[in-house]
């Protein structure tokens, strides 16, 4: 029983990180129908920037908590700028081109960002400075740390902020209108270019926070950390129904929990035939299973054969 609870907690933590990244994918996809493959690299850049800023400031004598805060803010700002430039330089000129063209551009940008990061930060694993004191809690036999609590709370706060932005502000209304029908939205006076840029900037800010979270959770960062994370987050977004905010959040958390439970129980379930290294398969098998019965994801709106 305590393994169960423990894995639920681990899955929840990992899942809230997936959810934050998935939101970035789903916003961009919802508005312009593009799989932004470079989004995972934005997460990685966020983590690496925050390491550099935090350790530089901490080395200069600043208390680690404050340095970490500066690191987080710096990561958010750099990633926002990065997201904006990605849209402006790489994707905007391609509107109206064939569907797969921006996908290849996104893959190209992903390769560029990864190698740029390797040139700047080197190919070694960097240790992430511990931002929060190591405090352990124990509830009903399950252990968790202060970092885990902070990750779940912070992502809940970020997600509430995003929901507020999308459903309660004018920019959010413009985003929803653009997602429904860009041409009509633009006739109603919505500045499409601004809305799309905003979706990239907001998504990248969330990605930066996720990057810092991953870094402080696993205490390392690396120029290749973004790719697999981005892939999982995209899987989560699709699982929930891509283009749908609630779906991305639910999909992220669900994927995290499924993975954790899968890793914990797969050995028992198969009588030791399959070990915990099959964890990644779980995510994809669940995805395929869900899509077979609900072809547009758990929360996705039912669309016609042609969208």
């Amino acid at each position: 029983m305590d393994i169960f609870l423990q894995q639920i907690i681990n899955g929840l933590v990992q899942g809230s990180i997936y959810a934050l990244v998935a939101l970035g994918y789903t916003m961009v996809y919802g508005i312009m129908g593009l799989i932004n493959f470079a989004h995972g690299e934005v997460v990685m850049i966020g983590a690496l920037v925050s390491i550099t800023v935090t350790s530089t400031l901490a080395a200069a004598g600043m208390p680690i908590g404050l340095a970490g805060l500066f690191g987080l803010v710096a990561a958010i700002l750099v990633c926002m700028a990065l997201g904006w430039s990605l849209e402006r330089i790489a994707y905007r000129p391609l509107r109206g081109s064939p569907r797969l063209t921006p996908l290849i551009t996104a893959i190209g940008m992903s390769i560029v960002l990864q190698n740029l990061a390797m040139i700047i930060w080197g190919r070694n694993y960097l240790t992430f400075p511990p931002l929060l004191p190591k405090v352990n809690f124990e509830v009903a036999g399950a252990h968790f740390t202060l970092v885990q609590v902070a990750i779940v709370l912070l992502s809940a706060a970020m997600m509430s902020g995003l929901v507020f932005l999308v459903y309660r502000t004018k920019l959010g209304m413009a985003m929803r209108a653009t997602a429904q029908n860009p041409a009509v939205a633009s006739l109603m006076g919505v500045n499409i270019n601004r809305v799309i840029a905003a979706a990239f900037v907001v998504g990248s800010a969330l990605a930066a926070v996720a990057g810092v979270m991953v870094g402080s959770y696993y205490e390392i960062a690396h120029y290749q950390m973004g790719f697999m994370l981005g892939l999982k987050a995209f899987t989560a977004a699709v699982l929930g129904g891509i283009g749908n905010l609630a779906g991305a959040m639910a999909g992220g958390v669900l994927l995290g929990v499924i993975e954790a439970l899968g890793a914990g129980y797969i050995g028992d379930l198969t009588g030791g035939f399959l070990g915990s290294h099959y964890q990644d398969i779980f995510a994809f098998v669940v995805l395929i299973g869900v899509l077979m019965f609900k072809p547009s994801g758990l929360f996705g709106e039912k669309t016609g054969d042609r969208a």
Binding site: I104, T105, I107, G108, M109, L116, A183, I281, R306
Partner: protein
């Protein structure tokens, strides 16, 4: 169909044939490594043409294509290596490999037929990862794939007593292993290209195109979209399977590492960058994207030495950086690919550009 027998096209064909025959010897002057790269370029042509059936002809976005290459490669590796002590002849393994890949193609295709565009993309991606993870872990409790170490000592391609590995003397010429494989691959490539061209203009090819353009309309005119889509997956997969088998024989070694997601993405990039759905374009894309990173590998270091007198930036990352930039730039200035089909470029230039999408 054009008349192939007029003198102009005959000279053209003859010139291309001579170029293809001489090529490995010219390239080989830079070392056998370049002949190997040339062989890989042809293997990628197979893969890109196979994927082109799925993505380019039928319009189904497949991000896990490399899984079929893996299935073909492992089929060959298991049936012709000391790992299980089996040494099947070429004429048995190649069809079995193609058939296995074909079965996997249908296996992937059948549950995903209902899915639209990007949902299909992520499921195929997941499928590719599942295959790779299984290859990586199926070494216990029963050792089937030998896990991450991979399978070694795989038999080379052999026709009768003629082995394609090692150097042989033919008519006083010394032909190295890679050069012999080159001729085998070129012969196969010509066959594959002919099959593809014939397919494109066949009834099936036109049905694929109809599905790509408008699935509902295709259904309405009486195309069995389910079977035709499955056929696209199956045919694409079998080309991948054949390429995989030859890869495995040529290398003498396979491991799961060769079949990662990035390989699927590379093959897709070849198809799109070359000109989706246009066979010459796809071939160009495959050859270019195989050679570009290799040429950069040799060029990046010396160019830096010449410009700055020392190595400023790690050549390995710089070469991939340039590669990524090249992808972005080509898509920016040639959104339909480097060599799109004439119909497609006409469509793109006539259509007024919409605000978004």
């Amino acid at each position: 169909m054009k008349n192939w027998l007029n003198p102009k096209s005959m000279t053209g064909i003859a010139l291309i044939a001579i170029a293809l025959i001489v090529l490995p010897h010219v390239v080989g002057m830079g070392g056998q490594a370049w002949v190997r790269i040339l062989n890989f370029a042809i293997l990628y042509v197979f893969l890109a043409l196979g994927l082109n059936i799925v993505v380019g002809f039928a319009g189904l976005l497949d991000l896990g294509y490399i899984a079929f290459y893996a299935v073909g490669a492992y089929t060959w590796a298991l049936l012709a290596s000391p790992h299980f002590g089996l040494h099947f002849p070429l004429w048995a393994i190649l069809p079995i490999g193609a058939l296995m890949a074909c079965v996997f193609g249908v296996l992937l295709g059948s549950p995903t037929l209902k899915l639209r565009g990007d949902y299909l993309a992520i499921v195929t991606l997941g499928f590719g990862e599942i295959i790779r993870i299984f290859l990586n872990n199926l070494n216990s409790p029963v050792n089937i794939t030998n896990g991450p170490q991979g399978i070694t000592l795989i038999d080379p391609v052999k026709i009768g007593d003629f082995s394609f590995s090692g150097t042989t003397q033919i008519f006083g010429f010394a032909l190295s292993g890679p050069q012999k494989y080159y001729y085998l691959l070129v012969a196969l490539a010509i066959l594959v290209i002919i099959i593809n061209v014939r397919l494109q203009h066949s009834r099936i090819g036109r049905a694929w195109q109809a599905i790509r353009e408008d699935e509902i309309a295709a259904k309405a005119v009486g195309i069995n979209t389910r079977n035709i889509k499955l056929l696209a997956f199956a045919m694409g997969a079998s080309f991948g399977g054949i390429a995989g088998g030859i890869f495995s024989a040529m290398q003498g070694f396979v491991s799961p590492e060769s079949f990662s997601l990035i390989e699927s993405i590379m093959v897709l990039a070849m198809v799109v960058l070359g000109g989706m759905g246009h066979i010459p374009g796809v071939i160009l894309g495959a050859v270019l994207l195989t050679f570009l990173p290799e040429v950069l590998r040799y060029a990046v270091g010396p160019v830096q030495m010449a410009l700055f007198g020392k190595i400023l930036i790690d050549p390995e990352s710089l070469r991939m950086l340039i590669f990524g930039l090249a992808l972005v730039l080509v898509m920016r200035f040639k959104p339909a690919g480097l060599w799109p089909s004439p119909e497609r470029s006409r469509e793109l230039s006539d259509k007024p550009v919409e605000a978004v999408k």
